[in-house]
Symmetry: C2
Subunit: 253 residues, 2 copies
């Protein structure tokens, strides 16, 4: 278990404080409860404000605390499991999909996206914006990039923009036969527009899920989805029932 190595690891002060705070959260506070302010907490645990703040940041990373504007620091509920890619080989917008189309525009994507789509750098693509909710709360915001070559028969007449246009683009995309999906997950920080939809501050830690949809041997669509890292646990596989939390004793009560 490596416990013998622990003695040789320099433990920062905030790390020890984090452990003490975790125990206090488990024993004294309930979900949703507002913590005393930083000054009171620092005094109670006999630490500097800076040390306290570092420990609070750790607990926020681990999903134990939430800091909300105008509310303060509250004890977070357990993270919600959100299934990613459970329906193998399903197009975005397929039946049963729990995403809502918000908007659709036609513009040149970021250079890295253009490269992945193998479109020219200045070539406009359809950009569908979608959001995903779980238990009535926003959990993810997505930009779905679709080259014009993937939806050649799309008519521009009936809906020039908005959700109706987004749905029309997705309907056309579904004509292609999906051959493969490739997905990656990495840490990122919320862009200003995503942050707004996710009810977070710009720069908040997020999990960025990038999916490449392959049809007719090429990238037919590329999705960049931003999930709230504080409230979400992404699940993969058929049932996604991995119910392990990492706070000590978190499920003990």
């Amino acid at each position: 278990m490596g416990t013998t190595q622990l003695e040789t690891v320099p433990e920062p002060k905030y790390w020890h404080l984090k452990t003490v705070l975790t125990e206090a959260l488990d024993s004294e506070f309930s979900v949703g409860e507002i913590l005393p302010n930083e000054r009171e907490l620092a005094a109670r645990f006999g630490v500097a404000r800076a040390t306290l703040r570092q420990a609070l940041e750790q607990l926020e990373l681990e999903g134990r605390l939430q800091r909300r504007r105008g509310v303060g620091t509250t004890v977070a509920p357990p993270r919600v499991g959100v299934a990613v890619g459970t329906q193998q080989h399903a197009w975005p917008g397929a039946a049963g999909d729990d995403w809502q189309a918000v908007d659709c525009a036609q513009s040149a994507p970021p250079a890295a996206v253009a490269d992945a789509l193998e479109t020219g750098r200045d070539e406009p693509v359809h950009t569908v914006r979608r959001t995903r909710t779980s238990h009535g709360r926003p959990v993810a915001a997505e930009l779905l990039y679709i080259p014009e070559a993937s939806v050649p028969e799309l008519s521009g007449i009936d809906a020039p923009s908005g959700p109706a246009r987004a749905r029309a683009v997705l309907r056309e995309l579904h004509r292609l036969e999906l051959e493969a999906e490739e997905r990656s997950v990495e840490l990122g920080s919320a862009r200003a527009d995503d942050a707004k939809e996710l009810d977070r501050l710009p720069g908040a830690p997020v999990l960025v899920v990038t999916t490449r949809f392959v049809a007719e041997g090429r990238t037919a669509a590329l999705s960049v989805a931003t999930y709230r890292a504080d409230t979400c646990r992404l699940t993969f596989g058929d049932s996604g029932n991995v119910e392990i939390h990492h706070g000590p004793e978190r499920q003990a009560s």
Copy 2:
């Protein structure tokens, strides 16, 4: 594209600074280069040290910067794609697996793990510690919990602990037929022992991948793997070739 919404989003000062710094990183600095110290940077961009520090933290989250003890802040290389669960239905330690067994101990696991394994709270389980390297660098540390019921014929005689014991436990595990794998990914902070193996400070942001291995209708093993969030991009699917980075123009040169 939501750009019309941008005006209504309150942009914190550090957010604007982050954009400016990103452009400077793209145009003036190369991978591995050490940034000027905080005082110099704050002076150059005309911001307070606290604002600068927030912007640097954002860029660290996005994998653009690395802060290393005794070195300072350097420009990070692009994240490495690390395949997770590409070999469907493969036991840990199967041929071709790029994990190294480090140690094995027998002890009572954390309560949440015991609950997932459906072992009693005080019942000892085999705990195999493994590490994973990619391109010669440590990318992940894992604790693999295996109830005694999953390896009933394991003899304790030949190797009581260490890598040999770990390999013996895995060999015994492979006798079971793997029926399903369920996986989740979430944000976490590095525990002290993991941090040491990953060459990070305790509390650094990590991606925690929890995998439940199902055999004979029950959880035969549970893996909690901690991946460096700064250097890794986790890939899923057969080829995992999603080569999109989120820094603007990051792949432009």
